[in-house]
């Protein structure tokens, strides 16, 4: 990951509304949430929410898809993994010690897996 990309992604979640949005869609998993639902839950005016969703999307942290007349936003877990990896690499001075995170299987490959 280039530093420039990391800065974009970091800047995207470095805002309380956007962090809240991101946490919400992360909790929901791959199914995602329609914009309206997010707006309702966080009590944000539609146009403001769009602004923040676009910031998150441009940063690659969330994906967008249409379902009927609603637009569904979902977390892109790979992007967050990449960001965490970037931070840990730079924190550890080049030695990789980053985990990987996925919606379903969380375990760090240790024995049995559920699902």
């Amino acid at each position: 990951m280039k530093a420039e990309h990391a800065v974009t992604a970091l800047g995207a979640i470095a805002h309380d509304h956007r962090l809240a949005v991101y946490r919400l869609v992360v909790k929901r998993g791959p199914a995602g949430l329609p914009a309206g639902e997010i707006a309702a839950r966080l009590d944000l005016p539609p146009s403001s929410l769009t602004f923040h969703l676009q910031t998150l999307q441009r940063a690659g942290l969330v994906t967008q898809r249409r379902l009927g007349r609603q637009l569904i936003y979902a977390a892109d877990y790979a992007a967050m993994n990449g960001l965490v990896a970037y931070l840990t690499e730079n924190c550890c001075g080049g030695t990789a010690c980053a985990p990987t995170c996925e919606p379903g299987a969380i375990k760090v490959a240790r024995g049995r897996k559920s699902a």
Copy 2:
């Protein structure tokens, strides 16, 4: 870690100059670097650098100590660990899968975690 704190820390490194500063002091380790050295290496005017160093310091990502007439800045590894832990927790939906990073010993502690 509270979301507000995470936002502050994320915002601190979400800037190319500050990310560069942080990466520089991380690479240097606990010994740290004097402000002047950082300014010279990154070719930043002193007053601008101070502005960014203060942002990083307020966010708790770097520490400051005086050595003679220079001020030494060093990375606070625990702070970055906390930030990475926050991100991974929220990325994994509550299941901890965060590593710990230290200047010398890089090994991931597989046992209990202290926060």
